[in-house]
């Protein structure tokens, strides 16, 4: 697999580390409801098909990325920096 890093270009997957599901949103730091934290940590959809996920270009620019990947075909539909708005 290869991932097109918006900073470094298309690179081998070995340079990246998977960083979890990007479709869940981290609760605000002031959130005190334990259920919401448990949902954020453990509740996953595990979809077949399109999936938004975090990858870090760990052995490259170290950017965290949001990658939209098809879990069946590994087709990568979009990539953007995690700290910027996506498509």
């Amino acid at each position: 697999m290869r991932i097109p890093c918006p900073w470094c270009g298309s690179r081998a997957v070995d340079e990246f580390v998977y960083g979890g599901d990007a479709s869940v949103t981290r609760p605000a730091v002031t959130e005190t409801n334990a259920e919401k934290w448990l949902d954020y940590l453990y509740a996953r959809q595990n979809p077949k098909g399109a999936h938004r996920e975090f990858w870090q270009h760990e052995k490259g620019c170290r950017h965290w990325l949001v990658v939209e990947r098809d879990t069946v075909t590994n087709e990568i539909r979009s990539v953007h920096f995690a700290d910027e708005a996506g498509p």
């Binding site: 697999m1 290869r2 730091v29 940590l41 975090f54 950017h63 075909t73």
Partner: protein, 941 residues
């Protein structure tokens, strides 16, 4: 069956000596082991997997199911190599497999007589059935009786390397189709990588005679290719896997070993060719039975004639070329064709070549003992026995669709091709060309009338349910087994494979999948596409584990990290040890001959004088930005917003789930700048977690984090005399409790080098951490040494902190909480922080959890790390565990930190300590973990 003159490309002027089962033999340069064995008159090369039947050489390539041999001797012997793909080398030692006591007389061939009992599912039914323990009893016997070669006992002598390779166009296969594709792609200006399994390009053209149309086409393409600087050719290289996004795995054979190449290609062209398929009939596994194309290859490429009286049993036109070539040299050639009509052109040329052709024929069995000696055949106008010493079969052609299927694309059945072709490769920048795509003849013979030609049905000549008609030669699966699988309900192809083992093994059914599923289709009364095909997965051919490991073996298994102070450890006579990836100074020879002597002496020096220890391995992170304070306040459980510039604070971080992530000290260097240290073990984890939070969640915080572990050398100067030592070396500034108070961070100069001094204590003594530029570390270290500091290593460092009751990596193992370690007070209740909500989950503080305690041995026996604790009797996993243990010179006894069930309420009681690994059972008294100076007077002087 000997080498004949005037044929073949091998170099007869260059004879190569080799042995087969100890017999001296000669081959030629250019031979494979198989062609050399055939040239030496060897027809029997191995015994079969299950029935120990005599087997010979069946093919001339990587589809070979039978001719598996061991090569080499001693610990460098490699088993299960295909004689048909290994290039012969001078001095090679070749041995047959799965025979005892000898190949010619194999005692276990009596298994053949047990044939009726060893049918599909025999093992499951017999040994996994009602008699419990039967498998346990018989496994050893069966494992010895069945199987292939023995594994090597030592490390491989091959050299392995991993290489990343890049190209615009990857062409897999150097036959005519591949060469033509490479030339076309190169003309467009692409960087082309052409790979070929064989040591020579040409593919099936090499099986044709010297003056053939194919050879002409090959010469012309080779010449064009040679002129193209943008084409690279890798021979002796097999692509074994196709992965997503144009990534391919390839094993390249070199003269000294094997390279694993990971090829990244923008586009790829599969020119992988096709395999000629066998025909299933009783006795089809006898030595002397082989694929027709293989006999042609041995003749035209290697100059070896596989028989004198040759029968060719075929279903398609490809065998006619074979017959014509063989007829030039063999005494007699007879073609038995299953079809009732063939192209008149072919009939004429066979007649001209002196070949007898029988149409509408079928072979009912091949006969012979250790080699085929005749066939029973019948057909239009004849019936009888044909004596022969070689039986060539051609059951049609099946494209090599393995690689195009590795991404999950199923091959599709083509009625017009009578074969499975690569599936829909939409969305993948791949294409398949030539025989791999069902176009078998790159250079059509213009004289031929167009007809089905090579594309003939690959179904068996007739439904067979015979115990000696082999569908899978490598796994000894017969047509009777397939019929039995159907009658027992295992008719889906994936079930058929697993129930009978058809298509398993080192050849992965390259010659058995198609006959097997077409036989199943026949028996089940279905079409082949309805029956389907099993899934192809990497690897296409076996990949040695050594090639996958590459250079990452032995001491290169992982990289080593050396402290910037490594050079002084050498000077100081340190004994080094491995801690994670780091090489660390364990103890110093000047303090004792063994680690046990030395670390106790080193602890005494720290407790009564002053000594230096290298702590450069600590994780170090630079944190800068207007929101740095707020950031730290969010990731540490304790407050950081009141920390003044020039001061440091010890803190703990949790994970989101409420468990402890790490501890460390962070100093405020300037208003918006901090210097964080983490434990050695968790440095990477802490930094990654910080990056993740800042880039994925708290994106509005203006903070920049930079790992600076390698930029700093760090050392600890500890002991009651450490201030006096420091005073001698610090340039031009006072060193006292006022100028550097506890938890202060100060910029100073030592030996002309700027340093950052941090007054913290891990050992419980008056102590300073001194940070300096990595390159200046040795200079600063030597200066402090010269001022009278002793030395202590990792072992003493650990022992000192155990005496002090400080937790470290062994206690912060990802399973402990603040309350487990008695550190609830470190969590602020006035602010949110990572883990602040879930740390209050009831399960993380409920009774019965293991809590940190100190243990004092009640005996002279040590309390080994990892020992299990028992409060009353020993039950289950015990009531706790020893996390860190040492001898304490201070208490003059063995002590330990431990996690004990409800430990804080058990102070004063005695527990049993079991160390089964060291055979120690002892008693220890539970106590507070702070063995030494609980008030902290020593470090606050």
């Amino acid at each position: 069956m000997r080498r004949i003159s005037g044929r073949g490309d091998v170099n007869r002027a260059q004879p190569l000596h080799f042995t087969f089962d100890g017999r001296q033999m000669f081959g030629c340069e250019g031979d494979t082991v198989a062609s050399a064995l055939l040239a030496n008159g060897v027809s029997l090369v191995g015994r079969s997997f299950k029935y120990h039947r005599p087997r010979g050489i069946y093919s001339a390539g990587p589809e070979e199911p039978n001719a598996l041999v061991s090569i080499g001797e001693g610990e460098h012997r490699t088993p299960n190599l295909q004689a048909t793909t290994v290039r012969l080398r001078d001095g090679m030692i070749v041995e047959s497999q799965n025979r005892w006591p000898s190949l010619a007389f194999d005692i276990q061939s009596a298994n053949q007589l047990l044939g009726p009992f060893l049918s599909a599912g025999f093992y499951y039914k017999t040994f996994m059935g009602p008699v419990k323990g039967a498998w346990m009893a018989y496994e050893k016997l069966i494992r010895r009786a069945a199987g292939l070669g023995n594994p090597p006992v030592g490390p491989s002598s091959d050299e392995f390397e991993t290489i990343h390779d890049y190209c615009d166009v990857l062409v897999v296969g150097g036959g005519l189709a591949g060469l033509a594709a490479a030339v076309d792609a190169a003309k467009e200006g692409s960087r082309v990588l052409l790979t070929e399994r064989d040591e020579r390009l040409g593919g099936m053209a090499l099986a044709t005679p010297a003056a053939s149309l194919e050879r002409e086409a090959f010469s012309s393409l080779s010449e064009q290719l040679d002129e193209m600087p943008n084409v690279r050719v890798l021979k002796r290289s097999t692509v074994f896997g196709a992965y997503d996004h144009g990534v391919f795995g390839l094993v390249e054979n070199t003269d000294t070993g094997k390279n694993l190449r990971v090829v990244h290609a923008n586009r790829s062209i599969m020119a992988t060719g096709a395999y000629e398929q066998p025909i299933v009939f009783p006795g089809n596994d006898l030595p002397g039975v082989m694929l027709a194309s293989a006999a042609r290859t041995y003749l035209n490429r290697y100059g070896v004639l596989c028989g004198q009286d040759i029968v060719i049993y075929s279903t398609n036109d490809s065998a006619f070329d074979v017959a014509v070539d063989l007829a030039e040299r063999a005494a007699s050639v007879t073609v038995l064709d299953t079809r009732v009509v063939v192209d008149p052109f072919d009939e004429n040329r066979l007649h001209d070549a002196g070949v007898d052709l029988y149409l509408g024929a079928r072979v009912t069995r091949a006969t012979g003992a250790r080699r085929v000696s005749g066939v029973d055949a019948q057909g239009m106008g004849f019936s009888g026995v044909l004596p022969c010493d070689c039986l060539c079969v051609s059951g049609g052609w099946s494209p090599v669709v393995h690689l195009t299927s590795h991404n999950g694309t199923k091959p599709v059945w083509s009625d017009s091709n009578n074969a499975f072709l690569p599936g829909d490769l939409d969305g993948v920048p791949w294409s398949a060309v030539g025989a791999a795509n069902g176009d078998y003849r790159p250079v059509p013979d213009a004289r031929k009338v167009t007809g089905p030609g090579w594309r003939t049905p690959i179904k068996p000549a007739e439904p067979l349910r015979h115990a000696k008609a082999f569908v899978d030669l490598q796994n000894d699966v017969t047509s009777k087994d397939v019929a039995q699988a159907h009658s027992e309900g295992f008719s889906a192809v994936e079930h058929l494979k697993r129930y009978t083992t058809l298509g398993m093994g080192t050849d992965q059914g390259k010659l058995s999948n198609i006959p097997g599923l077409s036989l199943m289709a026949e028996i089940a009364g279905k079409s082949i596409p309805e029956t389907g095909i099993t899934t192809f997965r990497p690897p296409f051919t076996p990949v040695p584990l050594g090639a996958l490991a590459g250079e990452e073996v032995g001491e290169d298994f992982h990289h080593w990290r050396r402290s910037p102070l490594a050079v002084v450890h050498e000077e100081d006579g340190a004994v080094m040890t491995v801690s994670g990836l780091w090489q660390r100074a364990w103890y110093y020879k000047e303090n004792g001959a063994t680690v046990d002597d030395a670390y106790i002496r080193e602890m005494e020096i720290v407790r009564s004088h002053a000594a230096l220890c290298d702590v450069s391995t600590l994780g170090k992170i630079d944190i800068e930005g207007p929101d740095a304070t707020e950031f730290l306040n969010l990731i540490y459980t304790n407050g950081f917003n009141t920390l003044p510039v020039g001061k440091a604070r010890w803190g703990i971080m949790l994970r989101d789930d409420g468990y402890i992530l790490d501890d460390g000290t962070t100093s405020r260097i300037a208003e918006h700048r901090y210097f964080m240290t983490t434990t050695t073990a968790n440095a990477g984890r802490v930094f990654s977690s910080m990056e993740s939070l800042l880039q994925t969640s708290w994106t509005d915080l203006e903070v920049s984090v930079t790992p600076v572990t390698d930029q700093w050398a760090a050392m600890v100067l500890a002991g009651p005399e450490s201030r006096a030592v420091l005073r001698k070396v610090v340039d031009g500034r006072e060193v006292n409790d006022e100028s550097i108070p506890f938890l202060a961070v100060r910029d100073r100069v030592i030996a002309g080098c700027p340093v950052q001094i941090l007054r913290v204590s891990f050992s419980g003594e008056l102590s300073y951490e001194i940070y300096t530029k990595a390159g200046e570390g040795p200079k600063v270290w030597r200066a402090i040494r010269s001022a009278g500091a002793g030395l202590f290593g990792l072992e003493a460092l650990g022992a000192l902190r155990i005496e002090k009751g400080h937790v470290a990596g062994n206690e912060l193992d990802g399973r402990t909480t603040l309350s487990d370690l008695g550190l609830e007070k470190v969590a602020s209740s006035k602010k949110p922080f990572v883990g602040s909500v879930l740390m209050h989950r009831p399960g993380l503080s409920e009774p019965g959890r293991f809590q940190l305690v100190g243990l004092e041995s009640e005996t002279h026996l040590p309390l080994g790390t990892g020992s299990v604790l028992a409060i009353d009797g020993f039950e289950g996993a015990g009531d706790g565990r020893v996390t860190s243990a040492t001898w304490s010179p201070e208490l003059n006894r063995h002590i330990a930190l431990a996690l004990l069930k409800d430990g804080r309420s058990r102070h004063g009681s005695v527990v049993t300590v079991l160390n089964p690994a060291r055979g120690i059972v002892t008693k220890a008294r539970v106590r507070d973990p702070h063995f030494l100076d609980p008030a902290g007077d020593r470090m606050h002087v």
